[in-house]
Homo-oligomer: 336 residues x 2
């Protein structure tokens, strides 16, 4: 039932009904009797305003778009939870699109969402190169692009936490698994690790660095990378993995090679995904406040939408946290 029909039924004009139902200041001019008649009828017919019509008129959709690489990788899902909670609380909803790292989709999805008249965009671990006609928040984006606000982890601190922990346990020969080239955090995190290593006086040997390759969100990639590290033959007593998932894969590779974790090799993950706490051994990891990052992104986006184009910071920083569990331990004394 439309507002017009409701008005006809009541023998008043659509304007009257609209004024009353929206309870705008101008509605004080409507007599109390009419007001109540309208409200009663609306209730009786369960009138619900048509959202599309209203959006058209008001030029507001109360919708934002979210672009993620992959829904089922733990990382995006957690950020998304934070985004969702904040958005729904504020009366917004969101459209999701996951591009699975396909470059044509990474280009097309922002355009598609904007065509759907979203009021803003949140890109999670997804590069956004081109300025867009709506405010954009990039979670884990690091490039300075006009109109884009980046929500980033304090990676310098993250590097310190990870390496500080290992160095404190006596490790000196530390291997690394870098993220995939397409992951927004890869470069920044790698730089942070290198610089932390420098500060701790730990050498970073080329033979002790592997990189994740491929797009699957499974531990397989970490497994493959760890096997490469083992194959390289250069001894190490600890590994810092790009994320928890790859850490889990690496642990499996170590185990198959007869190495115990943490007795022979300590492993530090990253993210603190659900899986981390309940893996065997439970993962020591650098926690990213992913849920909070999602909330922060959404909150900032709504603020930018409300403020109109213009004012925005380019960086919002959140702090990592070291979570010590079972996958790290003292460096073995019989270093070979």
């Amino acid at each position: 039932m439309s507002l017009k029909e409701l008005a006809r039924h009541l023998n008043v004009s659509p304007a009257t009904v609209s004024l009353v139902l929206n309870n705008v200041p101008a509605a004080r001019a409507i007599s109390k009797a009419t007001r109540e008649r309208v409200l009663a009828a609306a209730r009786h017919f369960q009138y619900r305003p048509n959202f599309v019509a209203r959006s058209l008129r008001a030029q507001r959709t109360y919708a934002v778009g979210v672009i993620v690489p992959e829904l089922s990788d733990g990382y995006s899902a957690l950020v998304l939870s934070g985004i969702e909670d904040l958005l729904l609380r504020e009366g917004y909803m969101y459209l999701v699109a996951s591009h699975r790292h396909r470059p044509n989709l990474i280009d097309r999805y922002p355009a598609m969402l904007i065509e759907r008249c979203v009021e803003g965009l949140i890109a999670v671990d997804t590069p956004c190169e081109h300025p867009l006609p709506v405010p954009v928040i990039s979670v884990s984006g690091h490039r300075r692009v006009p109109g884009v606000t980046n929500v980033v982890l304090n990676h310098r601190r993250a590097g310190e936490l990870a390496l500080g922990h290992l160095v404190g346990l006596g490790h000196r020969r530390i291997a690394f698994i870098k993220g995939q080239a397409f992951s927004s955090d890869t470069e920044v995190r790698w730089e942070a690790m290198r610089s932390a290593a420098r500060r701790f006086g730990i050498p970073v040997q080329p033979g002790l660095v592997a990189q994740l390759e491929g797009e699957s969100p499974s531990p397989e990639l970490g497994y493959v990378a760890a096997r490469k590290l083992l194959a390289a033959g250069q001894p190490f007593t600890a590994l810092v993995a790009f994320n928890d998932i790859s850490a889990i894969g690496a642990i499996r590779a170590f185990r198959e090679a007869g190495l115990r974790v943490p007795e022979d090799v300590s492993v530090v993950g990253f993210d603190d995904a659900y899986a981390a706490a309940f893996h065997i051994p439970a993962l020591t990891t650098i926690r990213q406040p992913l849920y909070r990052m999602g909330m922060l992104a959404a909150e900032t986006l709504l603020r930018l939408i409300a403020a109109g184009p213009g004012a925005q910071r380019s960086y919002i920083k959140v702090e990592p946290e070291l979570v010590i569990r079972e996958s790290t331990g003292p460096a073995p004394s019989d270093q070979t």
Copy 2:
């Protein structure tokens, strides 16, 4: 830039522009010269039709709503991936809402989505009791509700696969972890297990049945349930868990109790989530084709939308698959 402005710029009527751009049959009546002029201008100004206006006019939004309990639980995310792939391919987008099992949200979200003019709804592992004015697909729904089509697993077969595998390995004392009361599959799966046990002549002892309690999507719940089973003191050599996540928690509990998996206890999971293959030990599990279930749900929904109200089946069944990995093995001979 709107169609109207474009028309003014070209000195033609909006109707002409619309006809040409939509390339409708009636556009053949527009002279080739005009047609090309319009197309060129549209390209030049990068004209994009306003989706909201078009939706209002056509009374179509090409959007559907998806309701899930939780985004970050592996299960929903996989189903969602399937849903997304099919929807986007067909030019649809979707709005997500996750209710985290809160009853008021389970009631409100369908209404909210319908108010947003979605053309249909997919409920994943979420009860939908009331008939709604749009077609609804329920993934893992089992109740027969008018207007709701259920996409379900062949649970009878799933029970056979799980118990058949264990019985084949010599297990007779088998423990179970049932799902939470709120999970749509809990009852059906439990019935399937009981009936399979009956067919295999395996007794189902009350002391060997625990139930997941709580809403966290972490393995914690399985851990707690397994500890209850251990505390009950009744011996068992195998466990069938409600899902992979709880199986992982259970394995941790067994390990803490000094039991080896699979040497002392075999564990069968359910779902075949990403975590299953890379857990240590890798999980033997009953695979649900979650991605395909999502696709199937979306495909069916679009078909129902196209067909208009009326015709729909109430059940669509998919088949489970036994995936044998490391968490199951021969029953220990020294049964106590």
